[in-house]
Symmetry: none
Subunit: 193 residues, 4 copies
């Protein structure tokens, strides 16, 4: 910071051990999120990662930061799949349906993630913003194409649709409930009216 030869003028590059730690933390958190939900105690994550709790706070000041980091790769993958599907599918509606399926697959394998996305708890505001900010534009493109192709009604917005899909994925672990079927119904419902 005070060195005139500073290699990266803006950000100091992370030390190797810090980077290693960060990955360890992400792995531990991901594992615990699956088994205990994203509200698992910080100490449990620290213990699983073999670090102190302070280390978590250094790398991820808020829980939302940690959750975002854990799922960033998959969210990115989902976002990138949108345009790809649009160009490879038989119709925009088919692409929309397939893309929605990917999103459902992602959410339903993350115990508790869907629930937290729908919470209006301040703690998760940033998480919320990240998810929608990254995925709404993708969904909008798919939806618009389907509308323009005359396949679906035009009065639904992508953001709302995504929230609906997200909501339907809450509690997907219940054996008496099948989120995918419900989402299929929802997407099917886009066709009339």
């Amino acid at each position: 910071m005070t060195d005139i030869n500073e290699p990266t003028p803006t950000a100091t590059p992370k030390r190797a051990d810090a980077r290693r730690n960060e990955q360890t933390l992400l792995d531990a958190a991901a594992a615990l999120f699956v088994t205990s939900g994203v509200e698992v105690p910080v100490r449990d994550i620290a213990a699983k990662a073999g670090v102190g709790t302070g280390t978590i706070y250094r790398h991820f000041p808020t829980r939302a930061d940690l959750i975002i980091a854990v799922y960033r790769h998959q969210v990115e993958g989902c976002a990138e799949a949108g345009p790809a599907l649009l160009s490879s599918s038989a119709s925009p509606y088919a692409a929309l349906r397939q893309w929605t399926g990917l999103f459902v697959d992602f959410l339903t394998t993350k115990h508790g993630l869907a629930a937290v996305l729908r919470t209006d708890n301040d703690e998760f505001k940033a998480l919320h913003a990240y998810f929608l900010g990254r995925l709404v534009p993708v969904c909008t493109a798919l939806l618009s194409a389907a509308v323009e192709a005359g396949e679906v009604r035009s009065d639904i917005e992508a953001q709302e649709l995504m929230r609906g899909v997200g909501s339907l994925c809450i509690g997907a672990s219940d054996p008496h409930y099948n989120a995918r079927r419900m989402v299929d119904l929802l997407i099917n419902g886009l066709r009339h009216g």
Copy 2:
């Protein structure tokens, strides 16, 4: 016992003050459920009602008992509306759609109730059971009638549908989200095989 006008011959009627207190409690709880969700601390409810915490435990041994009591009237009303709509509506499907609308109206005006219904927290098991036990049969009747009339697909069960509807009502207070529209989509999606 011999008096034809005897209101409650067997059970001792509740003392007037106790009944008053119970109502005060229900009102306080209902108000706090709206502003702070159904997980609001017991002490807050007691404070708002102007009673001691023990009084709450006397009337409602578990939190689920309290929540059920708060919403009982409306759940009963919703349950009773099912058969009525079936006989008064133009078609079973129309009745189903209207009934679903009532359910959505109920849920979306109870901040946090839909969320708690989807929680798998043990604390709410009884609540869960009460809601489903009371409403699933009603929904089943409506759905079956619509299936028999050939209006909707036959592979969806009432319980699943209700959970879907319930899920879509989570976070309905968000201005960017309209639970009713999403539920309409879902019900719409029931048509077609």
Copy 3:
């Protein structure tokens, strides 16, 4: 007590229902003391007796009063057995040993009573006083006779001995412990000086 004339000229005689209630209470308390110890919640006793808690407090202002009342008959019986044994036994020491046996029988069949007798909790002061006041003189007579007969050492006081016996009866329900054997040891130890 059996006097045909007014038994208590000053106090208003108890109403029949009050007397009946009192007995019901004693029975209920006795039963619960056996199964749950003498510290069982007041409400449990009231419930078992089918009365309100207030009724208990009216009849027995403190818990000690209730305990004393419950055991009065047996304590009296034990007290009266002392002189009887002294005159019927082969020797004062034999009488002392037998009498101690009666006391042990009494205590060990009252789950928790021995413990509460040894507590220095203020709540039980009166209980304490009653037991000792009634039984110490009896024990003193037995012990003195044995001392005078040259059968046991003379430096032990009845009160102390009774407390020792009482202590040894604590936890008598434990299968690895036999209060009677320990008390035998203690009494045996009185010989020699």
Copy 4:
């Protein structure tokens, strides 16, 4: 790590402040156990030690852990005294008597400890187990030696004897009661039969 003076190479040594705190806690607990018994509220101990309640739970997850830690030194001392007395005393019986005296000294200076040892409260199971596990073997050795020397009767087991001794130490603070004298009686009583 490469320092030849490294004190504990494998286990991370406790931080100095933690160790200090632990001692402070033990001291505070010991003091309060004396004045208020071992069931004194956790918050009181924390307050006396000048720490938060969480600190107590960190160091001693259960109350039994805390009690054991408080008395560990003295229990160990008592346990170690057994064999020593056996080899230095004039006779096994004399050793037994002396050892019992040590045990009594220990218990009678710990207000409420004897009582809790006799409680069948689950909370104290571990405490119980620790005491008996550590001291019964010692007592067994002493008792067996005395039996083999023909000094005492052979039908009493160490565990039972220890419980008896423990029981006699309950309420030792009462000026009208002398636990030591009662225990002497008990040990004396071992000689016949």
